[in-house]
Amino acid sequence: MKSGDKAEVYAVDIEGDGISFENARLKDIESRMQSGVSLRIIKDGLQGFAYTRNLRSREELIRNALDSLKGGVEGTFDFPLTKNLQSLDTYDPSIETLSNARMVEECSRVCDLLSQRTTGQINVSASRSVGSMRIMNSSGTDFSSKSSAYRFHTGLLYPYTSASLNRTWRVKTFQEVPDGYLNFLAETYTMSVREVIPGKKPLKVFFLPETVYVLMWRLQTAANGLSIHQNISPLAHKTGEKIFHESVSVYNDPLNDTIPGARAVDDEGTPCRLFPVVENGVLKNFYYDLYFAHKMNALPSGHGFKGSVTAKPVPSLLHLTMTPGSVSFADIVQSVDCGIIIAGALGAHSGNIPHGDFSIGISPALYIENGEITGNVKDVMISGNIYDTMQKVTAVENTLHPGSGGNFPALLIEDAHVTIRK
């Protein structure tokens, strides 16, 4: 490249296998071997971007990136020079010895154990993946990493429905799912399998870790540097203000290499760090990639992620977590006089997300009465705005569990707008 031009290359390779069981029987075995390369260039204050899967022609990739320059997309930021990074343990070589046969065995074991303890249809899946990525840029960054992940997912279906109680297990290499995982599923399912009609008392609402993403999605959108730049975030100018209950702390932790997916840099080569979004209920930070950091005259915060080799980086929180509370799931249930457990959410992607609004169908909705899970309720919806709902958190579970987009505890909410067809 000519002097004064800037460039960044991002390359990924991924191999993986997936096993799925439905109704406790082997349904599918799928494998994949996929790769891709993307190129960003900055020239004369403009940005170009191109990608391919098969790098047969470097010239074609460069040509596509140069052609894209002509569109006039602004590119006034610099690619970072990143060196001397903290070393993270993201790859466990023992994953290479994990065979599909072993994963089939584990799925069968879990199905057998659960079928002895529950009456529901059992769907499980296991998958392994090994990935490698490399980021190089014209500032001198040359970072590469290898990662491994093993994931096990269980769904217990309620009779004559596809609503299911779910839980996921995520680790860096194969481990049998622990007894606690199985006990939660079997016991909670058995207590809630009967359909009930709720009483008329005011209902508390209990988000399981698997459904906390509904709330976090709205926070992520509002704290996103893109939303701040577009002036559509309800959180603009609110750093330092209390927006949630003081028991709630939300942060992004890409450096936690005890779980899969840890990252020392984002997809632009900016170093990652432990990043508080909300601390004891107080809004602490917005998050940026290189592009929006420059737009907002802010420091890049290491949150430029691509999602796919075919996409440009955008501000993303991919390692969200919350500070665990002090109460166990069982103790929280025991404390509830009358409540609904949100074990599954439908329609989280609809509604006025930037504004913080949500209106979701709950499927399944488990019913708590006098401190016990007594059944499940049909045709339930809950609506609200997270800046109201999250002020009413009255309990935070003392354990984190994998959910969509991060690791979360269960959250008990004092009251919410619940609509039930009687």
Binding site: E30, Q34, A50, S108, S363
Partner: protein, 454 residues
Amino acid sequence: MFEILRKILSQVSAHYADIRYEIRRDARIVFQGNELFHIGSNITDGYVVRVIKSGGFSSVAFTRHDDAEKAVHTAEENAGLMALHVQTPVVFAPAEVVKDTFLPLLHEDPRTVPIDEKLELMRQYNTFALRHDKIATTNIQYSEVVREKYFVNTEGTEIREDLITTSINGLITSKDGTLTQNVRVALGGSDGFASLRGQEDELGKRTAIAIDLLKAAPVAGGIYNVVLNQDLAGVFTHEAFGHFSEADLIEDSPSMREKMQIGARLGSDSVSIVDDPEIPGQLGFYRYDDEGVTAKRVVLMDHGILTGRLHSRRTAAAFGENLSGHCVAEDYRYAPMVRMGNIFIEPGGNSFGKLIETLGNGLYILDAKGGQTSGENFTFGAQYGYRVKDGTIREMIRDINISGNLYHTLKNITAAGDDLVLSKTGGCGKGQLNIRSCHGAPHLLVRDVVVGGK
């Protein structure tokens, strides 16, 4: 390319194998507010091989041609492993051998339109929305996806088919003080670039709705009788019933198969539902699915009675039912699965005015804003609505989400309008994103719908 694919399949030692190779050409232009965020064209490609061996079945997706031998070996190994564990061997329903090249008829091939011209059109539309002082920002994208597909199987089928999809979609966001509202924009189709021109009126309507929503009151949660407009009724058809008609979703669920028996009464007499990818010029049109099976019109429900299902070759054999040609993939990254092509409720005999009059008191709800299903439970959002009182449309309402149970709701559809409309864009996310998933309906009158709200 057929020769290359035949050569890969010649390495397979199995009862059946197929391979699909695709070249995907994308063009995208993205505006965020006044700023051009992205513009570019790119080409990607890849393969998916599938094998049935000894009664087991597996697929492998791979990028590089050099990995073909390893992919074939892995697929055979996986199929062999599956064969050890399945109680019933996997069998494909017989399909005719096809040798064909099918290229769609287009009104202005987008590949012949210079990107500068596309950029200028997008800039005009974007500026059109942003000129209002209550519009805070836009997030609008032009997308063009050309899939050049090659399919070969060991039965002798060889098909080349192109799928070309263009769309303009995104959000227009209005703002008043701290309140923001947004409205989706969705234009496009599979019949060429011409359908994207001259859409200023549509952009104007969407912008006006976004501004009006700032003054609308949030809906009060409760149980209502409602009239759904065509877009929302189409999404309801897709979410509430369509996924249930995908055989792979109920294949291994004894309780669901019991409920979804052909001949069962599931809906009212007012409800007849069809999936028809054969209708030319609509978003969901295709000739052959990704198993090389010819796409067919399927009557799924006839006046409330379940009459059909959507199948892959595997599920058609498992159910003992006819092939329908509904097994498709998003692109080369995925094995195909059963998907809706173009699902819609057939029109009835009622005018829109008659439906509102019959409704009397309730809600008139319009335009889908995302939906999701979990078996028989569904939830979907509406862009906006109106309160209806004494058969007259009154004030606008917002923040509307509807939830329900398929069986209850299908039986609670009391009347269908005479004004069927099919969607222009799609986005079904059943594991993979199907941008050509078309849906449609006339206006529908539905009793006792659960509406979430304050």
